[in-house]
Each structure stands twice: as structure tokens, then as C-alpha cells.
Symmetry: C2
Subunit: 387 residues, 2 copies
């Protein structure tokens, strides 16, 4: 068994690196943007589409799958890989983020207790033990703890799993952020203990919290690094804007040892991917490519912001492909006019073609970024895309 993570090439002008995560379901080339398959499906696409596109890793959601169909059923059916017929690397998040954010406006509403005055409150209790909450599906009361999150993820059987954490937003005060962070650290110890008890060979990722406070981030990254998990996530609030976000990231990456893969949770715009990789981030996950696709916002190399809104009237008679530079099945065969029409007609195929294109585009983008690192051309790649 090789090491979990190996580095093939480091950029000489930045922390960008090309690596490989070795899993029981194959090697995962990094940098990598995991494709989000929240409910054990990447919306509209089959696993065979994902293979054809070149998707490296699918990320599924512990919270959603726990509520339906339940980890016991998935385990009975052979685990997530068999259940959804994806035989490549998989990652599951811990459910922490969703427990705090599902069913109401913002994570902050929960943490600051604003939601508690409303009839539909979801989070009932955050204690040392764990979190009591209402299922967004049927209102049933449920409980998640570090131990149960790890147990669920063990049954789901992804190659990489995440520690159970409280995801602190940017507008809680430092006192709350510190208390929450310290509890998340104690939860990490319990996750590691449960993981050992289960004798799981899944790769556990600890999560760095600490919000926008550099001293707390330092404490948290020291704690997580010392915990010895094979992978590390940067989580929690990354600030109110991209400048703050990259301050937090660069502060963390200055101090992180470079031997472990670092995952940036929930981030994955084109510019974020480049700037994150430049800071040494190895893996990302983000719903934007698939969610945007469903709303007709499609990647296009030579459009402003590298995207176009296919439902706009200007595309009604446009015989060009969505992106003339794209080699995906959709761009090789269909016109903007047809995809525009399908969206206007409310046809399922619109969503499918749009999702296929967006996932293909972003996966190709990340592969080209990796190649640019290997070929010592990362700075050129960055300039090409960010100008």
C-alpha cells in the first residue's frame, strides 16, 4: 500500500503542487475538484457519464443520506460505491455543515439562536455530546454526534471521510468562535477514537476552524496537525468576501506542513480554484457547477466571467456550441439555440446537457491546471484565466 498522498511536482513560484491521493478505489490526481453528488447521484448524470467526463472523485452528503435512505440500507446494499455504481474515489462530509445550515436562512441564524423563536426551528440543541435537530424531510427529531457521524460514514463506505464539526459563520463573535472551535477539537478527538474502534481504513480528514481570527486559526491548525489525520480540511467561516477568504487560507497554508492533502470545503469558482491551488490547496468541492447548470448559467471560455446565461434571448438563434473551445459531448453536438430552447420549454434534457457541460468544463479546467503545474507553467495558466 503506497502512502495516502504523494507529490509529483511543486511549482517553483508558489505553493501549487501536483499530487496523487491513493485510495482503494483508484488514484485521485490533485489538484482536484470533487464533483458533488449530495444524495448519491450527481444530478441528471450517470456514473458512466462521470467516467467519460473524467471526474476523479464524487462527494456525497452524510446528513442527507442518513435521513434518506439511511446508512443501514446503503450498507446492506454494499455501501455507497455499489449503491450508486460509482467505482472511483469518494468523499463524504460529516453532516455537520448541513445540520447547522439546512432549512433556514444562514448558519448564523442557528448559532445565534435567532431561529429558536420560529416555529420551524431545526437545530434544537448543541451540547458537548452533539447536536439535536429536526429532519428537514419530515420533522423527526434526530441526533448527530462525532461518534454517530463517523459510524454513519463508516457504513456509507467512502474512501475519505470528514470529522464532525460545528461550522462557524463569519458574523459570530470571537468568544463564540473560540468556544465552538474548542468543542470541535474535542469532537475531533472523539471522531479519531471512534474511527479506531471501528478499525476503518477510510482516510479521516480533520477540520480546521477558528473563523477569521488568525490566532484561533493557528490554535486550530496546530491541533488538527497534531491529531495526525491523513488529510486536513479548511472549514468554517472564511470571511465575508474573497479577500478575507484568501487571507484566512494563506495564513493557514503558511503554517501547514506540506505532507498531507489539504481540502478547502465548499469552495470552487474558477478564480478560487486557481488562487486556492496557488496557496497549496489540493482538493475542493463545490455545488456551483451543477447548481448553476440547473439555472442555465453555463461555463464559456471566452465570455465575461467565463460564463453565459443560456436562457438569454440572444442565444435563440445561435448555432455555436455553448463553449466553442469545449470538447464535451454537448458542445460537440448541440447548438446554443437548442439548449436555449430546451430551457425555455422546461425540458429535462436542458438540465442534463447543461450539467454535463459544466462538469466537463470544470474538470478539464482542473486537469489543465494540474498539467500546467507539472510543466512549470502554472503562472501562465493563472494569467491566461485571471488576466
Amino acid at each position: 500500500m503506497p502512502d495516502f498522498f504523494s507529490i509529483q511536482k511543486k511549482d517553483s513560484h508558489s505553493r501549487a503542487r501536483a499530487g496523487t491521493i491513493h485510495t482503494a478505489h483508484g488514484d485521485l490526481q490533485t489538484p482536484c475538484l470533487m464533483t458533488v453528488g449530495t444524495k448519491a447521484t450527481v444530478k441528471t448524470l450517470t456514473p458512466f457519464d462521470l467516467k467519460k467526463i473524467g471526474v476523479g472523485c464524487v462527494l456525497a452528503n452524510t446528513y442527507h443520506l442518513h435521513l434518506s435512505p439511511g446508512e443501514d440500507l446503503i450498507a446492506k446494499l454494499g455501501g455507497l460505491h455499489a449503491f450508486m455504481q460509482w467505482d472511483g474515489p469518494m468523499f463524504t462530509d460529516s453532516g455537520g455543515f448541513q445540520v447547522f445550515s439546512m432549512g433556514h436562512g444562514t448558519v448564523a441564524d442557528e448559532i445565534k439562536g435567532r431561529e429558536r423563536r420560529h416555529a420551524k426551528k431545526r437545530v434544537l440543541d448543541i451540547t458537548e455530546e452533539g447536536v439535536r435537530f429536526h429532519s428537514y424531510l419530515n420533522g423527526d427529531e434526530r441526533f448527530l454526534s462525532p461518534e454517530s457521524s463517523i459510524q454513519i460514514q463508516h457504513k456509507l463506505g467512502a474512501d475519505m471521510i470528514a470529522a464532525f464539526d460545528e461550522c462557524t459563520p463569519s458574523h459570530v463573535d470571537k468568544h463564540y468562535t473560540r468556544q465552538s472551535m474548542e468543542r470541535t477539537h474535542r469532537w475531533l478527538d472523539r471522531c479519531i477514537a471512534e474511527h479506531r474502534t471501528l478499525k476503518s481504513d477510510q482516510a479521516l480528514f480533520g477540520i480546521i476552524q477558528g473563523g477569521v481570527y488568525p490566532d484561533l486559526r493557528d490554535i486550530s491548525l496546530d491541533f488538527v496537525q497534531r491529531s495526525g489525520t491523513p488529510g486536513i480540511c479548511i472549514g468554517g467561516s472564511l470571511g465575508k468576501n474573497k479577500t478575507e477568504m484568501f487571507d484566512v487560507i494563506s495564513h493557514a497554508m503558511d503554517r501547514l506542513s506540506s505532507e498531507k492533502p489539504v481540502h478547502l470545503l465548499g469552495i470552487g469558482d474558477l478564480d478560487d480554484l486557481i488562487l486556492g491551488v496557488e496557496q497549496g490547496i489540493d482538493t475542493f468541492d463545490c455545488v456551483t457547477p451543477t447548481r448553476n447548470a440547473r439555472h442555465g448559467l453555463l461555463f464559456c471560455s471566452n465570455s465575461p466571467d467565463h460564463r453565459l446565461r443560456i436562457t438569454n434571448a440572444e442565444f435563440r438563434e445561435d448555432t455555436a456550441p455553448i463553449d466553442p473551445d469545449c470538447d464535451c459531448e454537448v458542445c460537440q453536438n448541440f447548438t446554443r439555440a437548442y439548449v436555449h430552447y430546451l430551457f425555455r420549454a422546461g425540458e429535462y434534457l436542458a438540465i442534463r446537457l447543461a450539467t454535463h457541460h459544466n462538469v466537463h468544463f470544470i474538470q478539464r479546467f482542473v486537469r489543465q491546471m494540474r498539467e500546467s503545474i507539472v510543466e512549470e507553467k502554472f503562472q501562465m495558466f493563472k494569467e491566461q484565466w485571471l488576466g
Copy 2:
């Protein structure tokens, strides 16, 4: 250029026959169930899926495509084949059926004028000239005539097109049925004249009306046969139940010359396909396989009625494929449990997998029926499926 239709084999015990319709977009083996792609898309599937499945012919809808995106846009973009990237044989219906049936309860409501008292009436006027109606999309007043239907279908560019007719339901009286039929005959003459004016090489299908009245059906089939269209449809009311329907069909098929392909409009259940083919019907179209798929009603060889409702709780843990005898991509890879879960979770992939399976199943069924005719085993085939 070969004849439009050739017959390879006739069953010795029935009127069943294996033939070929020759089109500019390839040969179409008959018996054939056309796959319905109402709005220039077979819901959730790409044309590449359809090729892989072995779909022979796609049927699109003149009424819907006229209203959106409009035949002029489709013509500008190269016609229906180029627009949707389907390069095989295509059929368009005339729009007559939809004008009379869209947006209200039954065709009869329209024809008997019941709808006229309602605010949302759709059909404003049926005259010798044609039909004035409200668009179901935006309420705009529109007009279709034999000439405009043929002009629209010419712009759409399918290989086979249908004459514009009034589709009479079963519960109007004989007097109305006769008057309507006679007008439809005059409309057929106008369709043929318009078709000549356009110098179209599309194969026009005349439509036999006459409701459930044998003497009217005789008049209509004589009229349509004498009109010399290369194909013939059996349309209008086929009775209140399947016994009446097959009385109408067998009465017609007793009298039709056997040189032209005969299409049975809007019919395509498994038993209808067998009994229709036994009567000499060559082609069919039916939304049932795709519509049922969207509602989770899936073909299964060894279930009662040859179908199962995948959303039923009994399939929650079922690791069998949808149909153990099916060789489609879905049955070769996914379990009933996963498809059941996808439906329960409201995931797009549910609809896609279900549609793929149902279309594959029914196309394979029809291919096997054709083989049984070629091999003089049609009666065995019938017994095998109908018992």
C-alpha cells in the same frame, strides 16, 4: 430510390408482416413503435441514447413546435433533424389532435361545444377553412388549416408527415362524425395539393376517420386509399374499449390494400402492439412508455401486466435489476433499490433511468416481434406475451 415501403415477410396465419420503410434518413424496420419526442426531445434522453437503444423513428409534434420555438426558427437552424441532432427517420403528426385536445378535458368537450361556456376555451372556431384556437402557452389566437399544417411540417422537415384532420371522439353522434369526416376528406385533398405545391419529398400519410361506424370507416378508407398518399393512418375514435378498438381496426384492415404502411395513431400498449401487428398494422406511436417511466411505472417481463411500480415499498431493498431479463444499460448496472430511492428522493436521474429502461424494453420487444414474424413464430410470440 427504392419504393417507400417494402415487405420482407408475411405471417401465414395472420396479417402480421415484417417490412421496411425507406427514408432519406435511413431504413425503418417495421413493425415499429415510434418513440415520442413531442417537443423535439425524448424526455431526458439524448439522440445518442436513442441510437444505442435501437430506436428506429422519432415522432415530434407539429402543434407544440409551431407554438415554440416555431417552424421558421427550426427551418433556419437546418430542420428538426439538425435542431435536435437526430439523424434517423422522423415523423410529425399534423397538429390536428393537439388543437382539439390540449388544455381541456376531452376532445368531446371541444367538439360538442361544452368548452365554449368556459373562460379558458381553446378552440374558437372549426370552419371549412381550418381551426382558430388559443395557444396553450400564452393564450395568443392562432389558426391552423390543412395548408398551414403542411407548410409547417415541410419546414420542420420530418421524413413522414400527417394530413390535417379533425379527430372525432367516440361519444359524438353519427351525424357529427359523418360531417367531420367529410370535412377531413376535403382537408386531405387540400393537404395533398399544398404538398404538391411545396414539391416536398416527405411521405404524406392520409388519415382514416369515421369513428366507430363501419359504413363511415368504409367511406373514409376508400377516400384515403384513392387519394394515393404513400402511407395511411388509422385515426379518430377507436371506440370506448379495446374490443371496440380492435373491431374498428380489423374492419379497416379487412378492406385496406396491403401495399402501403399503415400507422395506428396514439396506440402502443404491449397487447395493442401484438394485436395491432396481427391485424397488419406496421407502425405505432404512443407516449405511454415515456410517460409511465416518469411516474415510476416500469416494464418488467415477469411481473403482472409486464410492469412494476418502482416506488412501491417492496422495492426498497431489492437488489435485482428493474427487469432481470432486460439487457439495457440501466438493468445491467442499477438495482431496483437505487431506482426506488432516486424516485423517492425526487432526483432527476430517476426519470432518466426509468425512461431509458422503458424505451429500451419496448423497442426490444418490437424488434423481437419482428424477428418472430420473419422466423414464422409470430403466434408463439403472441402466446408467450398474452398467454
